[in-house]
Every structure is written in C-alpha cells, then in structure tokens.
C-alpha cells in the first residue's frame, strides 16, 4: 500500500482500508465488505441475536463477534443485574444466554472488561487501525479515533453481519477536516468538534467519510481523537477517523485483543504504510483554526446550535435560511431560553459527566482538576458515570473518585447512563449541562434540556450552578 511513484492520483487512507475489505463489487457504488469485528450491545445487539435464533442460523465467525451490556444496565452501585428501563432486565438475560450459547466474546455486567461499547472496544484492542468494525449504534464512528473504519448500522444489518460477517454498503465520498494552530486554555477536543458542527451544520457530513487531520490532531492523545470521531455522526457523517500514527500504535500495543508477536510486527508494518497519499484528492475540505476557538456549549436541540460559553443565545432572525430559523425558534421554546441571553447567566439543575464521548480517564482527570477542593452548587444534581469498569478502577486508583464525589457528584458504575433516557427521574424536566453527544428533544429524558459541553465546562458549571467558562478554574 505504499504510495505509487508517478501515479496520477493518490488514494486516501479511507480508500485504502475500504479497498482491502471489498469482497465483491455489487455495482452502483455498492460493495460487499468484509467485517473484521462486530460489536453487539444490549439494545440493537440483543434484537439481532434474538432474530438470529429465530432464523435458525448461527454466527459466521464467532471469534470476531463481541458483546457487552451497557445501554440498559442500572448504574447505581449494587444494582448491576437490574435495569431501570421496563423490559431491560429481560434484554440483559437474553443477551447473556445467546452469547453464551454461541460462544461469543461477551463482557457481562460483572466482567472487569464491561463498559460502554465504544470505550471498551479500543480499551480491549477489539478496535484496531485498519479494521472494519460495525455495531448497531450510531456512535461506532468513535473508533475511528484508533484508525478503524468503524460505522453504525441498524439491527437488521447487525443480523446480516452476525450471519455472514459481511455487509453490502454504499461507498461514501472523502472529506477532510484540518485543524491548524494550537488549542488555548480551556479548549478541548469536544469544543473542536462542536465548533465544526456549528459551522457546517448537523447535515454537513451526509455521504462522507471524514478524515480528521492537521497539527492539532497529530499532537492529540488517542482519547481526544476518540472524542472528536465520536461526534462525526452528529454532523451526519457515518465515518470519522484519524489515520494511525506512532501515537496510535503505542496506544493499541499490548491490549488484550491486539495482535502479538509476529502478527504485531506485520500489523505495524501495515499501519505505517496505510497513510493518505500527499496527492490524494478529497471531495470536500474544511479547515478550522484552533487559535480562534473558545470553550463551546450548545444552547439548542441540535448539536449545530452551539456558541462560545462567553457568547449570547443567537437570534433566529440571523439564521442562514428559513429551515434553520424554524429550528432555532423551536429550540428556544423547548430550551426555555430567549435570544440575546448571556449563556453564563443560564442557571442549571443538573450536571452529567459520562458517555462514549467524554468518560474516559483523561476526561475524569480533567473534571477532577476543576472540581478539586470545590463543591457543586446547591440545588444541582451532579452525576458521574465512568465510561468503563476499567476507567472506573483506574480513576479510583488515582483518587479521582474521591475528588469527584467530595465535590458532590454521584460516583456510579459504568454504563451509558443518562446519555439516552432509560429511566430514572434525576433529570426529568431539568436543565442539564452534559458531556454527552446529543441535545435532542427528550434525549436525556422527557422535557430534559441538555447543553453539550466538555467535561471541564460541565464541572465548572456544576460548581457555579450556571453555565460557566471553565477557564475560570484552570491554571
């Protein structure tokens, strides 16, 4: 896969990985792709397993199928076998039975490898550079952070992959987002991706596979890249990724399902050769100057409705077009905000740190840095749910749990928790500043008003009891 000297046009990393997985060209830009890994979770994955059972078929390549319970599990300590969601316990039971029956790689609620599927996949070396990986979950694009060609699928497609370990897909176009400059104080990967979505819109990535590039990405930790790739789907790109570099290789080395010995050497050679050629052409290019970025927070009900924390709620009259204007008006109504209000004047009822976006160890360290020696404001319900059981243990080993809970956050067991509503009334009809990825209407619960932000902004806002610029608390 090295660059071909004198070739008229280079290929992107995406094209190279895609081409290496094509079983057959089905015509009309659709290809039967080989799927290196399938990850199932207790919602869409259970559904696919039950349908597989009904069809009388079995998994095509069971060693390449992984499963974890994350969505419906109760995150309150001591409730690991329960679900706050009606019918949730049954989903966990059927997943347990069917995974064991078929001998799949299964991380049960009491397994030390349990956690949110997109946190667990890179942690365990299930997601690797250059692999195709699918899961019945739109945030599977997270795993592009380690250079995987990973994307979300529906549960029928999940069933297809279970039964065949292959999947017909339409080939997307190539897009590149280049982040230049340097990040200022209080500005994090979450802010970088929110700013991008604010600029290109929640529909800006439809039909594209998005490569994140530039010096800021090159200098960024793999965990930061996972955060950025996580939100590719929030601008409707099914795929977001950072081609592997030495940082990626260092990150995946030695993980339980990473290649070992001679396989490792072969993998590294493959990864080092798999770069976007200098003369590759992208169908669309976007550039963001990080020197101008400030901490971001969403004010509305689409991730594109985002402003700087220091800014004001925008006026729908200034919308780019009528569609956006209607979206903004409805968002103001749902969010109970007025145009022109200062974001830092908006009081909050809740604070949530969790999800596949921002609940890895670096996120918890950042939150603890802000929270250390401080207290959550009166009247604010604050909850922290580590992204995985391993993250939780690591945080406890570092004493972060003590800092976070002494500040007044509930310290929970790992799971998807309050990112999507599965039950629990903590945030019902409340205003919550949240480290998650979706501020949709009712996403975190009926009438819950969600403001997306970085873990630092969530922590700072929890302390002040209103939306707060994290730079006040960062040295």
């Amino acid at each position: 896969m090295p660059e071909t000297p004198g070739a008229a046009q280079g290929r992107t990393y995406f094209d190279k990985v895609w081409d290496d997985h094509v079983i057959a060209d089905m015509g009309d830009n659709t290809f039967l792709l080989s799927m290196d890994r399938l990850f199932l979770h207790d919602l869409s994955g259970s559904a696919a397993l039950i349908r597989l059972e009904q069809s009388g078929r079995g998994p095509a390549l069971k060693n390449h199928v992984f499963a974890v319970i994350d969505h419906v599990v109760d995150t309150r300590p001591g409730h690991r076998y329960d679900s706050p969601r009606p019918g949730g316990t049954e989903l966990m039971v059927s997943m347990r039975e069917l995974c064991n029956k078929h001998g799949l790689n299964f991380f049960d609620v009491d397994d030390p490898r349990q956690g949110i599927v997109h946190v667990v996949a890179p942690e365990q070396g299930v997601a690797l550079p250059g692999l195709t990986l699918v899961c019945g979950d739109s945030h599977t694009c997270t795993l592009g952070g380690v250079g995987a060609l990973a994307f979300g699928i529906g549960s029928s497609e999940c069933l297809h992959v279970l039964a065949t370990q292959a999947l017909p897909q339409i080939k997307p176009k190539n897009m590149r987002v280049t982040y230049s400059g340097a990040l200022g104080k209080g500005v994090f990967p979450k802010d970088m991706v929110l700013a991008l979505i604010g600029r290109i819109g929640a529909n800006g990535g439809i039909g594209y596979a998005v490569e994140f590039a530039g010096p800021v990405i090159a200098d960024m930790s793999v965990e930061g890249r996972l955060t950025i790739c996580n939100m590719a789907i929030e601008f409707s790109a099914k795929y977001g990724f950072v081609p592997p570099d030495e940082r990626t290789i260092e990150y995946v080395k030695g993980r339980p399902f990473s290649p070992k010995g001679a396989d490792w050497d072969a993998a590294v050679a493959y990864w080092r050769a798999a770069r976007t050629d200098a003369n590759a052409r992208f169908d669309r290019e976007e550039a963001i100057d990080c020197n101008t970025l400030t901490p971001q927070v969403t004010w509305g009900t689409s991730p594109q409705l985002v402003v700087g924390v220091a800014d004001k709620v925008p006026d729908p009259k200034q919308a780019a077009d009528a569609g956006v204007s209607v979206l903004m008006k409805r968002a103001l109504e749902y969010m109970k905000l007025n145009a022109g209000a200062q974001m830092t004047d908006v009081p909050i009822d809740g604070a949530f740190i969790g999800s596949c976006t921002n609940a890895r160890i670096s996120d918890l360290r950042l939150a603890a840095q802000v929270l250390k020696g401080r207290k959550v404001a009166d009247g604010v319900t604050a909850i922290c749910i580590p992204g995985s059981t391993e993250v939780k243990k690591q945080a406890e080993a570092e004493g972060l749990d003590r800092i976070i809970s002494e500040a007044g956050f509930q310290w929970r067991e790992s799971g998807c928790g309050y990112c999507a509503y599965i039950g629990g009334d903590e945030f019902l009809d409340k205003r919550v500043v949240t480290s998650t990825n979706r501020n949709f209407e009712n996403r975190q619960g009926p009438k819950t008003r969600s403001h997306l932000a970085s873990p630092a902004t969530v922590a700072a806002s929890a302390i002040r009891g209103r939306i707060t610029d994290p730079r006040e608390f960062l040295a």
């Binding site: 057959a24 080989s34 979706r438």
Partner: protein, 209 residues
C-alpha cells in the same frame, strides 16, 4: 426472511417540514417497550404527536393528527431527516403508521439503509422540489395525492409534474423483490471464501482464531 415489497404507492402526503428530525423524535426511547404490546405506529413521533404520550392525548396541532393526514402514506420531510441514532424503530414506526415512502432533500445515512429493510422508500429530491411539493399539498389542505413509483423511479406531484429520483440499486432491489438479504449474501459464499483466504495471507494479524 423476505422483506416487505414496494412497487409503487399513491396516497395522501403529509408535510412535516423541519430540518434535522432525528430518530429520537421519530421513535422516542420510551415508545420502544410500549411497541411490544401496542405494535409499531402509535409511538411514531410520540413526544410531539401527543400532549401526553402516556395517555395518548393528541396534540391537535401536529400534522398527523389532522384530517386527511391521519391516513397519509407518504411523508414529505426536510433535510437530514432521520439523523442521529441507528435505532431501527424509526422506519418501523413509520411503516406501522402506514407510511410507504419519505421524500426529503437528504437523509441520515443509517436511517436511509434501515428504510429499505422495513418497506419504506427513502426518496431524495432537490430541496426546492421538496419544498414545492410540501407547499402544493398544504395549499389543498392535504386533499390531493402523490405517487412514488419505485419501478419507474419517478414521483408524480399533486399537479401531475413528474420528478425522477434515484435509489441505490441494492436498496431498490430489496423494495422491488423483497429479497432475503442474508440469502443474497450467502449466494456469494465462493467470493467470500476466496476473499478470506487472500485476507488471511495479507492481514493475518486481523484474524482471531
């Protein structure tokens, strides 16, 4: 399992013109469990369609609660319809309500793929055309019909104007023939086996056992 087929549909079209309608709106999380006993359809747009989703007290302002849209078979929607979550409940609720086609300028990619597996044609037309169709339907108070013809790849508007559209060949086949897509892939077993043999040689590191 064979998929539900669709050759063409002529019927009432309901305009629901808001951009970025995510699948959490189409298939709200709390409707998922209820669909088991109630079936798919009643929960469609549950949080906006009802004043109280629990009692099913209707919101009279919502388009699908108005005559004649209660019997709509075609949804006219705005850009990025079906963005967000991969939940297949979204096309299932649409189908359960009675929809056979959604016409929009663009779709969320996962939702788009899920439509073909649930008897729904996701028809893309230029934004100006979609807005024209919505306006024409509204001008008649909904008392007009639209035809989506998958066989001919053509949509006929309320005024008889014909719009050509394109569906991806594989999705179109799923709708027209109702193929069992897994069976279809399994007919390619020789190609799959040949690929795997090549791939094990080239990328042995990617294989687990």
């Amino acid at each position: 399992m064979k998929l539900e087929q669709l050759e063409r549909v002529t019927g009432i079209a309901a305009p629901f013109m808001r951009i970025n309608i995510d699948t959490d709106q189409i298939a709200p999380t709390r409707e998922h469990i209820r669909a088991r006993s109630e079936g798919y359809g009643p929960g469609l747009f549950g949080e906006i369609r009802y004043r109280d989703p629990e009692t099913r007290e209707e919101n009279p302002d919502f388009v699908l609660n108005k005559v004649p849209y209660r019997k709509a078979q075609i949804l006219i929607a705005d850009r990025n319809f079906g963005c967000g979550s991969s939940r297949e409940g979204a096309p299932m609720h649409l189908r359960g309500f009675g929809f056979r086609a959604v016409v929009a300028p663009s779709f969320g990619g996962i939702f788009f793929n899920n439509c073909f597996r649930n008897g729904i044609a996701p028809v893309m037309l230029p934004e100006a055309d979609v807005h024209t169709l919505a306006r024409q339907v509204e001008e008649k108070g909904g008392h007009t019909q639209i035809t989506v013809d998958v066989v001919a790849s053509k949509l006929t508007g309320p005024d008889g104007k014909v719009y050509a559209f394109t569906l991806p060949a594989f999705g179109r086949r799923m709708l027209l023939e109702g193929i069992d897509e897994i069976e279809q892939t399994l007919t390619m077993t020789p190609e799959i086996d040949a690929y795997r043999q090549r791939d094990r040689a080239k990328r042995g590191w990617a294989w687990l056992g």
